[in-house]
């Protein structure tokens, strides 16, 4: 079985320690995601921090409509195949606050300001996506 392809090849850097890719504007401001097309002029690709703190979060309890491509969105699938997930915003200190899937946690585990770590996770049968998980859990598992 082949490895899952990134949902977008430009979204994070390759290697053992991938970084989410942001952009550094001429002003020095860091943005996410890296702008595309003409908006990318004068923007340097910038590897974002792999650690940050939880800024906010929520659960996704129902199957999103198109263009969602996760479980439940397939041709012969529907709401029963949907897997609820958590998303949130993680503040990467001095850089930018990024929206992300939150994994390896339940709603009860989450609190404002908790330490979070970047990771790559399976998204659907063909693709992987990025996520953040509580840092302590990641360390314990290591």
């Amino acid at each position: 079985m082949n490895a899952l392809a990134p949902i977008d090849p430009q979204l994070w850097s390759s290697g053992d320690q991938p970084h989410l890719m942001g952009g550094k504007l001429a002003s020095g401001e860091i943005v996410f995601p890296m702008p595309q097309g003409d908006a990318a002029n004068d923007v340097e690709p910038y590897q974002l921090s792999r650690v940050g703190t939880l800024w906010s979060w929520t659960s996704q309890g129902f199957l999103p409509k198109e263009p969602y491509e996760g479980p439940g969105s397939g041709e012969n699938e529907g709401p029963p195949d949907f897997e609820p997930f958590l998303i949130g915003y993680v503040e990467l200190p001095g850089e930018v606050i990024v929206e992300s899937r939150i994994v390896d946690a339940t709603l009860d585990d989450l609190e404002l300001g908790m330490a979070m770590e970047f990771c790559i996770v399976p998204f659907n049968k063909t693709h992987s996506t990025y996520a953040f998980r509580p840092q302590k859990l990641a360390e314990k598992a290591a």
């Binding site: 977008d8 906010s56 929520t58 409509k65 263009p67 949130g88 503040e91 606050i97 929206e99 899937r101």
Partner: protein, 389 residues
């Protein structure tokens, strides 16, 4: 000095689901109601502004209303469509060019949450593919953080929805007209934590029309008018946190609602303490809570006390969303902002029936405030004032 502008006619097509009647037909229905209210005929209207988000162009309404050759400008400005139509109609009269103008908005959406295309918002495809492009998530995450920072409880979220359904029972144009108790609201299926099913509004259908007149025309007609003190529309400033943002600045920026609110109060020459009735964007319970503070009606965190004490109820010190708001009426995007203005016009003219607000002296409210917010970070505020007494 520009002309004073008044709303002399207001019409609405009930919100909700109306099988067999298109969004535009609901708009036409509202226009006819507004004309009858003002004692006018369609041929009297000199210019028109209107639009919808998902139900087609407004200028086609002339097929049903009459081919009077009036200039009819389509407005397509997302959640601010109604607010922008109102501003345009107001300017047309304030400039002195016209004496009678129409502002209208209508819509008809498919069931379920709005779905948006990433490219339409300048976002990469993965943002939608991975399930992040949902307006409901934004509202949930905005209130989640706000609750943590300012001590707002889940019960307070529930109380906002309970009030909305209670007000909806008294409102002929509302969609949800049955009360729902706090326990049911709190225990309903979670859509996006901390917001349950009954704390959200749903896309719906409806139409609203307002007829605006110059002061001279209003006096000539002997019409019962409400003065537009100020309408302000603002888009997002730098570093703000809005719907559909994959990345947010670490610098805390301004908010379009605060800018629109400040501009409206400044233009009207009054402050939040002078407002007698308010309609605030309540896409969900949390939005009403945060918008109370963003519009200057209370400080962050005080909403807990407001809701516990019923200060935003019909008989409270500042009744908010007296017709049940978006939660009870649903949100036909093109019509929603004008519904808020319609409700204030009815309240200020003392025609709100069972849901009529008493006002400070018991003779009805003298000032009305409405606020709409939507993607990708746009707010419109309208302040109305009752004439005379």
């Amino acid at each position: 000095m520009s002309e004073n502008v008044y709303i002399i006619g207001a019409g609405i097509h009930p919100f909700g689901r109306t099988e067999g009647r298109s969004g535009r037909e609901q708009g036409v229905y509202a226009v006819r109601k507004a004309l009858a209210d003002a004692g006018l005929e369609w041929k009297d209207i000199e210019c028109a502004y209107g639009g919808s988000s998902a139900a087609g162009s407004a200028d086609i309404m002339v097929n049903e209303l009459g081919l009077t050759s009036l200039p009819f400008t389509n407005v397509a400005n997302g959640c601010a469509t109604g607010g922008s139509a109102l501003v345009s109609a107001q300017l047309a009269i304030a400039s002195g060019m016209y004496d009678l103008a129409l502002a209208t908005g209508f819509d008809k959406h498919p069931r379920g949450a709005f779905n948006a295309k990433p490219a339409d918002y300048g976002l990469p495809e993965w943002y939608g593919q991975t399930g992040m492009m949902l307006t409901t998530q934004f509202f949930a995450m905005k209130i989640q953080r706000y609750m943590q920072l300012h001590g707002i409880s889940r019960t307070t979220l529930g109380r906002v929805a309970e009030k909305a359904f209670r007000n909806g029972t008294k409102t002929p144009h509302a969609w949800r007209r049955s009360p729902i108790d706090l326990e049911t609201i709190m225990n309903a299926p979670m859509i996006n934590d901390p917001l349950t099913k009954y704390m959200f509004c749903s896309p719906s259908e409806g139409g609203v029309a307002l007829i605006l007149a110059s002061e001279k025309k209003m006096r000539e007609l002997g019409a019962d008018g409400v003065k537009i003190s100020k309408v302000a529309v603002k888009t997002r400033p730098p570093d703000s946190f809005e719907v559909f943002q994959a990345g947010v600045s670490v610098n805390e920026g301004g908010k379009p609602t605060m800018l629109a609110s400040q501009a409206a109060f400044e233009g009207a020459g009054i402050g939040p303490e002078d407002i007698d009735v308010a309609q605030l964007q309540d896409t969900e319970s949390g939005a009403e809570i945060m918008h109370m503070a963003e519009n200057g009606f209370c400080k962050d965190g005080e909403q807990e006390e407001w809701l516990a004490n019923g200060w935003s109820e019909q008989d409270g010190k500042l009744p908010i969303n007296t017709d049940g708001g978006c939660i009870a009426c649903g949100e036909p995007v093109g019509a929603s902002g004008l519904r808020q203005v319609y409700e204030n016009v009815e309240q200020l003219r003392g025609r709100a029936g069972e849901r009529q607000v008493a006002g400070r002296d018991g003779n009805g409210p003298k000032t009305g405030y409405s606020h709409v917010y939507g993607a990708p970070g746009v707010s419109a505020v309208a302040i109305l004032e009752r004439l005379g007494n």
